[in-house]
Amino acid sequence: MILSVQVRAVGSVWRYLRAGGITLLLLLGFVGGWQPIAPNVLAKLPARLGALAKRVPEVATVLLRPFAGVAGFFRITSEDWALFRGTGGVRHRLWIEARGPRHRSFVLLYRVHDPEHAYRKSTIEDRRVFNLWNAHNWGVSAAYPHFARWVAARIFEDYPHFREVRVREEQVTIRAASQGFTETGQFDYERVVRRDELRP
């Protein structure tokens, strides 16, 4: 009888604790999803509201700080989902080239959407590998140089006559009316890896 009452009491406390924990989780998720307000929107707001809105990221950081350790452990960085925020304009197209000691020009080995140059295509286009080299508006990932060195190492293994590998991304302009893209001949994120750099 006493045990049954105790179990019921613990169960009741647990219900409240769980509901409280879930409420906290929802509130933290909501705060973690606060989006910094864009400067053009800020400019249109009344001065006092604008000043308040400017402090949103700072306030969110302060509120989330006590829980940052737990969120960091679970690798949960944000509830702000910016997927395909902007489209069109200038985008990029990955090129991988190599050249030997007597060649002046690089030989194209891989280029996105180029069936004639598809060196290690399945690895390079793997979903997780794609994230290493795909260029965003803010740039490429911090792993990009390591990706370039990895590709260079594989090329030097597969083609003993090559001495240099170049990994870079061509700027392409997206055309209107779903017409595809136009090549610009301009390149970003160029990394050149020489064979002697990779020797242990």
Binding site: T87, A142, H146, R149, A177, S178, F181
Partner: protein, 323 residues
């Protein structure tokens, strides 16, 4: 109010919805991990330089498991293999409490080795702990089969709160995505966003420009995407009204007559299927669709499964000669 709030998170329901999420979502993750292995990307992704690009190329402290076992290609393969094995066991519902926890830890360890990821990785880190806290193994699992074999009664009601949180997560995700969209997703940009993505060589499945003839359709799909995402916060209301025929007055009648809840779900499913067909985004569309059972009630899932079973049975019993 507090008592009603507590009672909401105290609700129990049949396990079919969460069980299906477990099978489909972790199944998608398993395929993702196996495809990285099949593509020869395990060393590149999770081994340290110079063999791979692990640690994301950023200066971070050595991950815990790597610090214990050493930073090497062997550690990378072991971590990947542990994640694959745990995923397979979770899909089958074997020793679920333990294997789902191992999967959470394995995915965290992989992420510590390779912090570079995309939206679906972020969702995986949120969904897996939620699933691990749930009783998603209460049906369609080895554990449930074993329990029945030992003569124990099946678990007919499990806590519903993990499904509710998955529901909230999906709704918030869609709405958050919509808030970020730039002009190309709206009338000022001529609703050109989907056509633009299909012109981007990094994302287009078919050669960019191939689908130019379908440009008007692609603009319509941009409009549909925005309607779907912006209306996401209304999904809980539509779901509530759909399940309570006597509530909501004229609005409720309209929602039920127009089948708004089902129209919204169908729009979302078609959006993800369209992405799967036309874009190269890995498991993203499949993992998103794998969470859709969380938007459905267990009795709806059970009815759907029963219909499928009946259809399969009718097909298998037909005389092949007479067909």
């Amino acid at each position: 109010v507090i008592e009603r709030w507590v009672a909401l998170w105290d609700r129990r329901e049949a396990p079919q919805s969460l069980a299906l999420v477990r099978i489909l979502f972790v199944g998608a993750l398993l395929v993702d991990l196996l495809s990285s292995g099949a593509h020869g990307a395990v060393f590149l992704l999770w081994a340290p330089p110079p063999l791979g690009a692990a640690f994301g190329g950023v200066e971070v402290p050595s991950p815990l498991l790597t610090a214990w076992f050493g930073s090497s290609a062997t550690t990378a393969v072991l971590l990947w293999a542990a994640a694959v094995l745990a995923s397979a066991l979770v899909v089958c519902g074997v020793a679920y409490r333990f294997t789902s926890s191992v999967l959470v830890v394995a995915m965290i360890a992989l992420a510590e080795n390779q912090p570079v990821g995309d939206g679906i990785d972020q969702l995986i880190y949120i969904v897996l702990p939620l699933l691990a806290c749930s009783r998603a193994d209460a049906c369609w699992s080895f554990d449930a089969w074993y329990r029945a074999r030992r003569g124990r009664p099946p678990e007919t009601a499990i806590p519903a709160w993990p499904r509710y949180l998955l529901f909230v997560q999906l709704v918030w995700l869609y709405f958050s995505v919509a808030r970020h969209r730039n002009a190309t997703w709206g009338p000022l940009g001529g609703f050109s966003a989907v056509g633009n993505v299909l012109g981007d060589p990094h994302f287009a499945r078919f050669a960019p420009g191939t689908l130019a003839l379908l440009d008007p359709l692609l603009r319509v799909s941009t409009v549909c995407t925005m309607i779907f995402e912006v209306s996401a916060p209304l999904a809980p209301l539509w779901t509530w009204l759909d399940r309570r025929p006597s509530r909501g007055g004229r609005l409720g009648d309209f929602v039920r007559r127009a089948r708004l809840r089902w129209a919204w779900l169908a729009l979302g499913a078609s959006l993800h299927l369209g992405i799967a067909v036309t874009m190269r985004l890995g498991i993203f569309p499949f993992a998103m669709l794998a969470l859709y059972p969380a938007l459905l009630f267990p009795d709806e899932i059970a009815r759907g499964v029963a219909r499928l079973s009946a259809f399969a049975a009718s097909v298998s019993t037909k005389d092949p000669v007479s067909n």
